[in-house]
Amino acid sequence: MRPIGDAWVIIARAMSKKIHVDATAVRKIANLAQLGLSDDEIRTLPAELTTILEHVAQLDALESSDRPSGLGLDPRSGNLGRLREDRPSASLSSDVVARAAPESAAGFFRVPRVIRTAD
């Protein structure tokens, strides 16, 4: 006989299948991802994300994995967890790196103000 605890898990999962992403959640996630969204995106993303996540919620039928499956590598290949030798080698000069940046000065990246002042 299935223990009652498991039954609760099944009921809770069935109930939790309902996914609803609203504009508030979209703004919150965009904030976490440091992603500016247009008004149009804030209007359309809730329905799009809800549709996709409802499809993804099929996974609720599975038990979650207790350990990662180890990147895309075949776990039987013996290639997991191999580290590169720690050997010093030439790297790019700071001038070359800074040239690729949108703004730089004297070999450093230039960024806008980091510390906010209290208004």
């Binding site: 991802a33 992603l35 995106e41 994300l49 994995s65 070359v96 990246f109 806008p112």
Partner: protein, 487 residues
């Protein structure tokens, strides 16, 4: 010269070897054809201005008696693979103007093998898409019907090979991005075993799934490219040099191929695709292979698992585009506003959608529900394949795509429908195993149809055995846009 356009790399190498042709002539011919027809395709985003110099250098090498595996052959490279001194923008506004300081390992290996880097090909932004419609450079059109997509995300590479602009191209395959466009464009496309090709210099999308693959007009050409680009690279700790398959397993008459028969009945699969894959199964049987039905019971979890794992990894990988170190920046007074404005303006709609999905899936409280279960699904899909291959099957035969190439714009407004078009390809990425798409005829609209062979980890040689049988059984398609070129 139009016979050059649709020759295989092997044929071109023979002509170069006997002095009938030079690499400079080959590159000039490819440039003329590209100038004439690529305006209506959009396969290339940038041609290598040094290609003729590189071809001349290759001709000198050949005159001096040096012959390398791709000596003098022009190769197209997907624009998410770094090329030193040649802009690499991943089809994104955020990387506009980014010029890498070094070549990706695969590009270095192509150059060392004598190849000429011909140009950079269009793609869905950062490889995120199945139609090459989400590129900042505009869509790539299918050479067989320019009102249809070339597939994606390596749509530019597939269209360039199919239209006879270059004999070979590199793509990248995270969920089917080499095989699906190869299928839509009527050419061969290989996704190698995860880790068997270095990812160093490939712009990361889903790092546990990404692999560089090859697109070509023949199985032999695909094998030749993999031989050049594959193998361990100290710059990629997940890379390795796979052991070779024992020669006795490579006898086509002993090949055991399992047909994923239940995949031919899934919702949304076109009759023409199911008929073509059954014809491929018959062709393999007629060639002496043993063919039987097999099932992959957990494959149905592949799409939901893929779209959690890939987007979770993407949300992390794409955090580096912050307007500080490379690419574009939106001007703002403080750092956080600058980050948001830069990313908001620099990323396109599909990339933002995937970053949002991945960030959501990794939020505290959802990690176990989504990410951990997706990992579980990945392990189950991998075990399905291991069980089949351990029980004596050499290959799995399946469709590459549910339909032939769809119309431009048909799925842009329905992201889930677009995601579901990857249903047959993502399984090999989740399992980390190799798979190849092979053309097997055309539908009533004249569009190419394809079959996919999936092999065990490091079983590329087995894939080639099966793919060669199909190549012999199905006559080559009459190339598209042949008549467009007047030399």
């Amino acid at each position: 010269m139009s016979d050059l356009a649709f020759a295989t790399a092997e044929e071109l190498l023979s002509r170069l070897a006997c002095g009938d042709l030079t690499s400079v002539e080959l590159v000039q011919d490819a440039r003329r054809r590209t100038e004439e027809i690529d305006g209506s395709l959009g396969a290339f985003v940038r041609l290598n201005p040094r290609a003729l110099e590189e071809a001349a250098a290759s001709d000198r090498e050949r005159s001096a008696g040096r012959t390398r595996p791709l000596e003098g052959i022009p190769v197209a490279v997907k624009d998410n693979i770094c090329t030193a001194g040649l802009e690499t923008s991943c089809g994104s506004a955020i990387l506009r103007g980014f010029v890498p300081t070094r070549d990706a390992t695969v590009v270095t290996r192509l150059r060392e093998a004598g190849a000429v880097i011909f140009g950079k090909t269009n793609l869905d932004e950062f490889g995120m898409g199945s139609s090459t419609e989400s590129s900042v450079h505009g869509p790539t059109r299918n050479p067989w019907d320019r009102e249809r997509v070339a597939g994606g995300s390596s749509g530019g590479s597939a269209a360039a090979v199919a239209a006879g602009l270059v004999p070979l191209a590199l793509g990248s395959d995270t969920g089917g991005s080499v095989r699906q466009p190869a299928a839509f464009c009527g050419i061969h496309g290989l996704k190698p075993t995860y880790g068997s090709v270095s990812r160093s210099g490939l712009v990361a999308y889903g790092s546990s799934l990404d692999v560089v693959g090859a697109l070509a007009r023949s199985v032999a050409d695909i094998a030749r490219v993999l031989e050049v680009i594959g193998g361990c690279d100290p710059a990629d700790p997940t890379s390795f040099s796979p052991a070779r398959t024992e020669p006795e397993r490579l006898d086509p008459r002993r090949l055991r191929v399992g047909l994923a028969a239940d995949w031919l009945d899934v919702d949304g699969i076109a009759d023409s695709v199911a008929v073509a894959v059954r014809a491929a199964a018959r062709a393999l049987r007629d060639s002496g292979a043993i063919v039987g039905d097999v099932t992959l019971p957990h494959a149905r979890w592949s799409i939901p698992a893929y779209y959690i794992l890939a987007t979770a990894e993407a949300s992390s990988n794409l955090a580096r585009y912050d307007g500080v170190r490379f690419g574009c920046r939106a001007t703002r007074d403080d750092l956080e506003s600058m980050y948001r404005a830069t990313r908001g303006a620099g990323f396109g709609r599909e990339v933002k959608r995937r970053i949002m999905l991945g960030t959501y899936a990794l939020c505290a409280g959802y990690q176990d529900r989504f990410y951990a279960r997706a990992e579980r699904a990945r392990a189950l899909v991998r075990r399905d394949f291991e069980t089949l291959f351990d029980s004596g099957w050499d290959l799995v035969l399946a469709p590459t795509t549910p339909t032939s190439a769809f119309r431009l714009g048909e799925k842009v407004g329905d992201p889930l429908a677009m995601y579901l078009s990857d249903v047959f390809t993502v399984t090999a990425n989740l399992a980390g195993i190799p798979a190849i798409s092979v053309p097997v005829g055309q539908d009533d609209d004249g569009l190419p149809l394809a079959a996919q062979l999936i092999g065990p980890s490091c079983g590329e040689s087995l894939l080639y055995v099966g793919a060669r049988l199909l190549e012999r059984a199905f006559p080559p398609l009459e190339p598209p846009m042949r008549g467009r070129f007047v030399p």
